[in-house]
Symmetry: none
């Protein structure tokens, strides 16, 4: 199969296939005398995988790592892929609902308050209300939201400061004194706006790397921060238990 055929079958452009070849992400099984790319059936399966992860928002670089990793288990991957798809779907549903709300309110021209407008979208104020709700119950989250709203900008600034400090030390070992001190501030901060057990704290850390939204949001302060925080939070929970 040559480029055009693969393109038509998979729905991607010929340019995209060229691109993936350049990146070494999908190298055609053969090359004809004239230099034409010739794809095999196995290539097609690879492409399918690539498109899976692409649709989930992974970068091509990440996809390459995932797929070339020898410990990559296909069946296992499929199951986790499905979970991720469901998450994505929930996100989309949120967005759709918010637009619907906006359209409804839009007839009344700006009757939405600032908080309402950002419900489900402000990843900084209380980014993951829904997840938190699932994990720790409505009471805790409501408390948290309330308190965050009460203090507003000041809390936000404080939060950002802590993030920045963490970003500064993110290249140290997560169990170093420096790192543990910084992550301790985070624990303290969270407990000023709600009550977090060490267990919940560690669980939250897991989410920082499990949920793409957490990761990207946190990593804004520095690449790899989310992952670092997860490790540091786990260690913090272990130590202080």
């Amino acid at each position: 199969m040559k480029v055009k055929e693969v393109a038509a079958l998979s729905g991607v452009s010929v340019r995209t296939l060229h691109h993936y070849d350049e990146l070494g992400l999908l190298i055609p099984a053969k090359t004809s005398e004239a230099g034409y790319r010739v794809y095999s059936d196995e290539n097609l399966a690879e492409l399918q995988q690539i498109l899976f992860y692409r649709a989930l928002g992974f970068s091509l670089k990440q996809i390459k790592e995932i797929l070339t990793n020898p410990s990559f288990n296909r069946l296992e991957a499929l199951v986790s892929q499905q979970q991720m798809l469901h998450q994505k779907r929930c996100q989309l549903d949120d967005m759709i609902r918010t637009i619907e709300q906006t359209i409804k309110e839009g007839k009344g021209e700006g009757t939405m308050t600032r908080e309402e407008r950002f419900k489900g979208f402000d990843f900084n104020l209380n980014p993951y209300e829904q997840e938190a709700r699932d994990r720790w119950g409505d009471e805790v989250v409501d408390e948290t939201s309330k308190k965050l709203q009460q203090f507003g900008g000041k809390q936000q600034e404080k939060m950002n400061m802590i993030y920045r400090r963490l970003a500064d030390v993110r290249h140290l070992q997560p169990d170093s004194e420096e790192a543990q001190k910084a992550i301790g501030k985070w624990f303290q901060f969270l407990n000023t706006i709600g009550t977090y057990s060490l267990e919940a704290f560690a669980g939250l850390g897991e989410m920082y790397v499990a949920d793409e939204r957490f990761t990207t949001n946190i990593d804004q302060f520095g690449g790899g921060l989310a992952s670092f925080m997860r490790n540091a939070m786990k260690e913090f929970a272990r130590r202080n238990n």
Copy 2:
């Protein structure tokens, strides 16, 4: 307020504020003697708006039009954006089913055909789809709603039975005999309450995923059913044409 402060408050980076200034998307109310950007409270409100639309997936160019052009129809933009999101969700549903199928078939990777592999991954909008939506959308919806309201409990029950049967087979390929037989019943049923051309039938299928009222209603019988029906109806129309 200067850049840093606004950045901390809103959660965006300083560079982003610079960028928005360059684009003319968010121009600070004042500029100090030294050339510092000074943002007003109103600027903050604007920024909120910008971030809101950004979170909905609009491009900065679109956002600028929406916010600066008073004659621009926001409602229209929101609706079309919502349709886009619905389509995305529909694709996700397809992918979820494809994965389910793949997992079920276990190691039997070879049992999937080439076309099956890529079901749900077609990111190219079929121009015919849009045409169908435009041509049949409103008309079909209005007609259907009217007639659905007219008939009573017995037909309602019959309808539900068909839905349940469809839900049972929704994990099969939409072009399988089983699925086509079930969707055929649906076509028959619809024609007991009105006259539907194959074209209108396919158009109605599009509405199942484009209009959330349809989607949520149908999906009550099983997640992803609306999306499945859309595909099956499309295939049915193709076959019997």
